[in-house]
Symmetry: C2
Subunit: 233 residues, 2 copies
DNA sequence: AGAACAAAGTGATCATCATCACTTTTCATC
DNA sequence: GATGAAAAGTGATGATGATCACTTTGTTCT
């Protein structure tokens, strides 16, 4: 697919300071592709090394274990990119990527990507920061898996989802509410456990399920519940 | 501490192709420090952002949970570096670092580090690869924690330790044998569980404990034991 | 060689959760 | 508004493994 009209790498912060000419050149070197919802963009077992930039749409980074269990990592939207690990080290794909809605991506050759980022400090720096963030998030998740029980991991996930909207009155909102199985995939537990935890929290008046959003009535309380166990033994 | 005689960044592969003059300049910009065994080099709670290069010695990357539980990440030796995450993004320290033996490090200012790596493609590339590797390893660990039981994680760790020495006759050697509590810290389980797993494996004739090393009699068998469960459900 | 301490081995117990097997609710669509 | 199909809720059950409380074995140091 040739570069669609109106589409470009202009919306990708990574290339914000690279210069218009160079960015246009890169845009044309990319292979532009559209994917529909549920369509797989990267297969974990595929032996490719392109780096993908999202021009529009939304994708989910995920690994399916042999058992079919889903381990969710992240969701990315316009302006973000994925496939950079294989692009950097030419290794195997570490995860699969699935489109969640109609998505337009620019697939860049690994060599082009590496040339560009290594020779442009304005790219190298944000890319390094991006990778550092990935390592930090993974480390935090390892910590959670190592020190928290399943229930507390759900609590911790609710806190993560709610934190952005935390009000001075100790209230927060999660909207839209992810489906339980997605939460389960993110904290490595069973869908039923998520349901039970939500039930308990609602019982205790800590959260309340409204039609299209979840109201967290007592953010601090929830935070205590997680920390208690962390320090417990 | 000024740069000790005989010490330099020459032994750091990251700077292998940076040019002698530049490397010497960097060496002098570093603060050189010695640490004794058990001494903490980076405290997880400290608000610093230096990047450390190991000229000699050995260090362990580790996080202690509030409960005192130890979560082990890696051990690094001469030529390797740590503290790069905070150096890159100026964020908090993600883990603590402890010297395991007498260790000489060069501490480099975050700004100097970032300037150097962003402006030298010969540094940027290996650093990116290094970070990609960290993300991959963390992802694998998350997979293990999410899909394997504690026993199988110990099996998987034995495989990791043994793989490098795998012989054509399906035999391998681990030397020296890490103490059980270290293995436990690396796979997030209890010391007792590690002891029990070793007991079972010895019983089954799959491994054998010799004076100073562990003999893996049947590497394939052990591999099957891990995969069985991965694909089981 | 013995003392002192670290590491390893082991049984008993108990809490946590994954899993199974349904039922009930909600949602999307015709 | 009916009809499937997802999603959510829930009880029962069983396996796993963390924890506790020792004992035994190894190491190191003087």
């Amino acid at each position: 697919m040739s570069q669609p009209t109106g589409a470009s790498l202009n919306t990708i912060p990574l290339f914000a300071e690279i210069g218009d000419a160079e960015r246009d050149r890169l845009s044309q070197l990319c292979s532009w592709r559209r994917y529909g919802p549920q369509e797989q963009i990267i297969d974990r077992d595929a032996d490719t090394s392109d780096v993908y930039f999202i021009a529009e749409g939304r994708v989910r980074i995920v690994i399916y274990s042999l058992s079919g269990r889903e381990i969710a990592f992240d969701e990315l939207v316009e302006g973000q990119y994925f496939g950079e690990l294989a692009g950097i080290d030419r290794g195997r794909r570490s995860a699969s990527v699935v489109a969640l809605r109609p998505t337009l991506v620019a697939a860049m050759n690994a060599a082009t990507f590496m040339d560009t980022v290594c020779n442009n400090p304005s790219c190298a720096k944000p890319l390094l920061q991006h990778l550092a963030r990935m390592v930090r998030r993974a480390t935090d998740r390892i910590m959670d898996l190592s020190t928290l029980g399943a229930n507390n991991r759900v609590h911790a996930e609710i806190l993560r989802l709610a934190r952005a909207t935390l009000q001075p009155d100790n209230t927060a909102t999660i909207k839209p509410i992810p489906v339980h199985s997605d939460i389960a995939a993110r904290v490595s537990t069973a869908r039923e456990t998520v349901a039970r935890v939500f039930g308990q929290l609602a019982q205790a008046g800590i959260v309340e399920r409204r039609s299209d959003h979840l109201l967290v009535h007592d953010f601090d309380r929830l935070e205590e519940m997680v920390e208690e166990v962390r320090g417990d033994f």
